[in-house]
Symmetry: D2
Subunit: 147 residues, 4 copies
């Protein structure tokens, strides 16, 4: 594979991605390459708003987390990724049976990494763009993460 | 009560707030007044990141939803609130036993309403500011929400 | 021309773009098509920071204005475009002899239009990405703009 | 004075604020204290849009620059401040005879500083809120700023 990532690292990222809140929500890895990360989720009633759309908070969670792991594919193993801030535009109400999130890196500094996440709503065979976000991330040494 | 809201409307907003994804996450109403909305959540393992902090996506979800209901206290009953976009800064990693989110309105146009949400992390008796967000919302007629 | 715009409309947009603050700053039209707008500026000392970089405010001004006119290519002549909000990431310090800004539409609703602007710094024969922004715009009837 | 800043440092900040693009635009210092910065500008035709409002780009420039100097009041003299990103909401069209911008710090990390800027439009004796922005800044060593 020409991902620039070892098989072992890819397996680690896949496992690490799907824990805690992300596992609870049901967001899963779709694709991992160096500088690219895609995720997906099957939508159920637990993901909806009172008006039966997919909740903006779930879309934001997916966008942030996938962007973070996109940055995580680019840093050495002793680094962790923190979200400094993100901004998300909701372009259309989402109500499909699943979502796909695609993240890519638009700038890669020594510390500051900027990613964009795009979320698509999947209804039958259609795929509609529902959100775009910009995520500003920071790579820090894992040992500095202690509370 | 001098909230400008009827008891009935407050009960409706409280019930309506805690449905779908928000109920699933466990976010609860703390306070409802005209133009003010506060929510809270007790933190468990399902809300954490791989590094045991509270997930940014949960904080974003709480900030967006509470801002939306803050706007919802200001519009007639035939209106619904949509999030156009939001931007959130994560100011400190959160790892407390609960969160509190306070939303207020900073601008109220006929269609466009802008709110700010502030999230505090509660650890023992301490309350620390963990995020600030700005949420741009739109009031639209409920009947226009049909898919 | 297959721009979807009449020659007359293109001439109007070109003239209208370069007025007031934009003319004062020296920002000029580079390209106009339906849903695409590009602008440029030759950099002088009046555009710099105290540290001799190109000022973030100028880059933001260019990003906002070019996005606005990008949306303006898509609406009927009786409409005007207002910026609801924008968010801009500065990806690298800029210090070239000119800037180019390219705007495109990522979502086009009846009222809300979302554009992205990308700014490049031109140094000798090199072109470097210096900023990315997302601009949320609103199309309103010209007659509603009265003060 | 109890600003936590020496008279000499305040004079330096005042002089340094009003250079290059900021001097060209005519933005001036109104108040400097440790963690607080206010600026003002007298509005002329050069600051307007084609529709005779004050240009969003000028308001953004003022918000970014004042936030940057607000952070600058808090760091040692060998540091400089860079804008990583900002987000600004335009809450009302501005058309007064002057603007006032007030910036304050909402979070102060070792490297990352987050400020909020609020801009008011002054018409006769009235002061109206026209924009709110959040600015993410980074303190870096001056010597790292070389091109």
């Amino acid at each position: 594979m020409e991902t620039g990532l070892t098989e072992e690292r890819i397996k680690f990222l896949e496992r690490d991605f799907q824990r805690g809140f992300i596992q609870f929500c049901g967001i899963q890895v779709l694709k991992i390459e160096s500088g690219i990360f895609k995720s997906t989720i099957n939508i159920g009633d637990n993901h909806k708003t009172q008006d039966n759309f997919i909740h903006a908070g779930l879309i934001a969670t997916m966008s942030d987390h996938t962007a973070g792991y996109c940055a995580y594919t680019l840093v050495p193993e002793n680094k962790r990724i923190l979200t400094i801030e993100f901004k998300i535009n909701f372009l259309k109400p989402a109500y499909g049976s699943s979502l796909i999130c695609e993240s890519e890196i638009i700038s890669r500094g020594k510390q500051i990494i900027v990613a964009q996440s795009t979320v698509f709503d999947i209804r039958d065979t259609q795929q509609k763009l529902v959100s775009k976000s910009t995520v500003t991330l920071m790579a820090i040494e894992a040992k500095k993460l202690e509370k």
